[in-house]
């Protein structure tokens, strides 16, 4: 058997090869100094990684999180709030009021019935178009026609 790829040796060191492959590789390693050295390098690396200083958190995170978890746990267990209660209707009511006031303001700006009356009043006093002149805005002419 030729020397196996390093990937196989690496899996062999982890004892992650299938039994047949493991047996084949084991008998090769016994007779191959190069593969023995590579396996030893892998084992040394593993030992050194284990010998690295291991940082610790230094406090009991579980105890520190307990209150936060308690609140989250209660939220999980709590029944869903009834949608017919005041808290359910209040945001919807506010939203509807806001929408209605927005529509009303919009009507004022674009010249709905309220705006139309005001504008007609202004036109009646300051209309630069003389009687019999060309009408530049149909709505204004119609408004002046009906005036006393």
């Amino acid at each position: 058997m030729n020397c196996p790829p390093f990937e196989e040796l690496s899996a062999y060191a982890d004892q992650m090869l299938a039994p047949a492959a493991k047996e084949r590789l084991a008998s090769h390693v016994q007779a191959c100094v190069g593969c023995q050295a590579q396996l030893q390098a892998l084992r040394d690396l593993q030992l050194q990684l284990h010998a690295l200083p291991q940082p610790h958190l230094g406090f009991d995170l579980g105890a520190r999180l307990r209150d936060q978890l308690q609140t989250a746990g209660e939220r999980k267990r709590a029944p869903r709030a009834p949608t017919w209660g005041l808290s359910g209707w209040l945001p919807a009511g506010l939203a509807a009021a806001a929408m209605a006031s927005g529509v009303w303001l919009g009507v004022l700006l674009v010249g709905g019935s309220v705006a139309g009356t005001t504008q007609a009043g202004v036109v009646r006093v300051f209309d630069p178009v003389p009687p019999g002149g060309l009408c530049v805005a149909v709505e204004l002419c119609r408004a002046t026609k009906g005036m006393p």
Binding site: C3, P5, F6, E7, S10, A11, D14, M16, G34, A37, Q38, Q40, A41, L42, D44, L45, Q46, L47, Q48, L49, H50, A51, L52, P53, Q54, P55, H56, L57, D60, L61, G62, A63, L65, R66, Q68, L69, Q70, A72, G73, E74, K76, R77
Partner: protein
Amino acid sequence: MRSLQELDESECIARARRGDAAAFSELVSRHQDRIYRFLVRLTRSLDDARDLTQETFLRAFEHLKGWRPEARFSTWLFRIARNQAFDLLRRHQTVEFVALEEDATVLDPAPGPDDVLNTAQRLRQLDAALSRLPVEHREIVLLREIEGLSYEELADVLGLNLGTVKSRIARARTALLGFTPP
């Protein structure tokens, strides 16, 4: 009635799934150091690792219903921790996601002398070598060599197939042996 410390992990999990915060905080106490040390070495920042450890457990509690007994609880925690860390590293742009050539032939590292110089200097060199690894190599080395996850568990945590786990761990080791002086 038994104290929480006396309960085995599955009992703690069952209670925590019913919303028992005390049972979950017991699980936190049992696993916090493993998660923290993994995150310290992955992010290279004590502050980030501390915040991420807390986030990991809060998220785990939130999604505890999604945990399946087929996976070990610690493996599931590692998956959450790892995903949180990658999100952070992406946001900080401290990680480059290079395409790893999983199928490329792994070069044999030059076998060094057979002596292990287990000194502080040697460990510092190894730590520095770890920090120079691409993050995908670093995480697999940490999870395999230090946390002792099996290849199946690595595949689960990292979302890889077994073949890729096998080749990636070999490549990471090759890189690490190449970085560290004999």
